[in-house]
């Protein structure tokens, strides 16, 4: 049989064509934000190691309105990451007799407790 000519459709812009994929890409978009936040913290750590002057430069940069705004964006994506992370967690477990939504609820609950504990610790350490 001779080779039939087929038509292959291009993939460009695939994620814009379906709301499910758009939400997926938003979920993935938290990645560069965490990356940047980690590098920002690293800058602070290195400055701390180098001495008071260096650290105070980092600290005043942290107070700049732009820094506050960017951190706010990261917080929003971090919350979305927490939600989507636990929502897909059931897919990575072996087949167990627990309803996925129980795992999701448990995970989010643990996250809320951890965040509250972190704030409580910061409050206590700086009172």
């Amino acid at each position: 049989m001779s080779q039939v000519r087929t038509y292959t459709r291009p993939m460009a812009g695939w994620w814009r064509k379906n709301p499910y994929f758009v939400k997926y890409m938003i979920r993935e978009a938290s990645a560069p934000l965490f990356y940047a936040y980690a590098l920002w913290l690293l800058a602070g750590l290195v400055a701390l190691a180098r001495g008071e002057a260096a650290y105070n430069t980092w600290r005043s940069a942290s107070s700049h309105p732009l820094s506050i705004l960017l951190h706010a964006v990261v917080v929003v994506f971090a919350i979305y990451h927490t939600w989507t992370w636990f929502r897909v967690l059931p897919k990575t477990t072996p087949d167990i007799d627990v309803q996925p939504r129980v795992l999701v609820a448990a995970g989010v609950a643990v996250a809320v407790v951890c965040c509250a504990a972190l704030f409580a610790f910061a409050w206590w350490a700086t009172r």
């Binding site: 038509y7 993939m11 695939w14 064509k17 499910y20 994929f21 997926y24 897919k91 072996p94 087949d95």
Partner: protein, 251 residues
């Protein structure tokens, strides 16, 4: 009781490899009733309006896996979705994404049938073969429950149309193949896991997946391929690190 007949616009992708350079769209006005599936809409077009329209179908009841297509951008079995749900909007029908188009709504399934499916060894590989006289393999309901829903795949390929990783890289084994691989690995009668995981542990196996999860959303039989793939990422990781400890390199 007479039902007033409504008309819905069904827009189909057309492609004839002998005459067309690229696909184009053709719209048909189809009279429909509430009980008509999208497949029946296509059958109306072929029977009454345009006999040249080409599409696959068979059982009309979501078990043969033949009639998969993109309906308004979503992978569906056309026998399993109803025209009334789209009215008064238009129904756009295209061949399943990520596969080459053979003609009109029919895709070239060769990659799945010839490459993916055989590669995962979709058959029981017993530890020792039994003769008939030795009797059957026994299995408890609990053991069967472990793999049963993964065995419900009808090879409709909706999950491949849903998977952007397969679209971007056709070397990826894909949702249905890996779900079926897991079906056999999880079967208590099977001892072929190590053989299958040669593919499973590679970049074309479970590691080609980024947990988009859309495959499990569109599966008409509840196979949940995303779960099959991603639980095997954990197993593959454990095996990766522990293989130096056990003599046979893991299960």
């Amino acid at each position: 009781m007479t039902e007033s007949v409504r008309t819905i616009a069904i827009e189909c992708l057309r492609y004839n490899p002998e005459t067309d350079e690229a696909p184009h769209y053709q719209t048909y006005d189809v009279p429909f009733t509430d009980d008509m599936s999208v497949l029946e809409g296509l059958q109306y077009i072929k029977d009454e309006l345009d006999g040249s329209l080409t599409f696959r179908w068979s059982c009309r009841m979501a078990i043969c896996g033949s009639c998969g297509s993109m309906v308004n951008g979503v992978p569906q079995l056309s026998c399993h979705t109803f025209l009334r749900n789209y009215y008064p909007g238009k129904v756009r029908i295209e061949p399943l994404n990520h596969f080459p188009i053979l003609r009109d709504l029919a895709i070239d399934q060769t990659d799945f049938v010839r490459n993916k499916l055989p590669a995962i060894k979709p058959y029981l590989i017993a530890k020792e073969d039994k003769t008939l006289a030795q009797g059957e393999f026994l299995q408890t309901p609990g053991e069967m429950h472990k793999y049963y829903h993964y065995s419900e795949c009808i090879n409709c390929l909706l999950c491949y149309a849903a998977c952007p990783q397969y679209g971007l890289n056709p070397e990826f084994a894909g949702p249905a193949a890996i779900a079926l691989m897991h079906r056999y690995n999880a079967d208590s009668r099977d001892a072929g896991r190590a053989e299958r995981m040669q593919l499973g542990n590679s970049d074309e196996g479970v590691w080609g997946c980024t947990l988009v999860g859309y495959c499990s959303e569109v599966c008409p039989k509840g196979v949940d391929p995303a779960h099959a793939i991603n639980q095997n990422k954990v197993a593959s990781t454990v095996d990766y690190f522990l293989r130096f400890l056990t003599p046979h390199g893991g299960k």
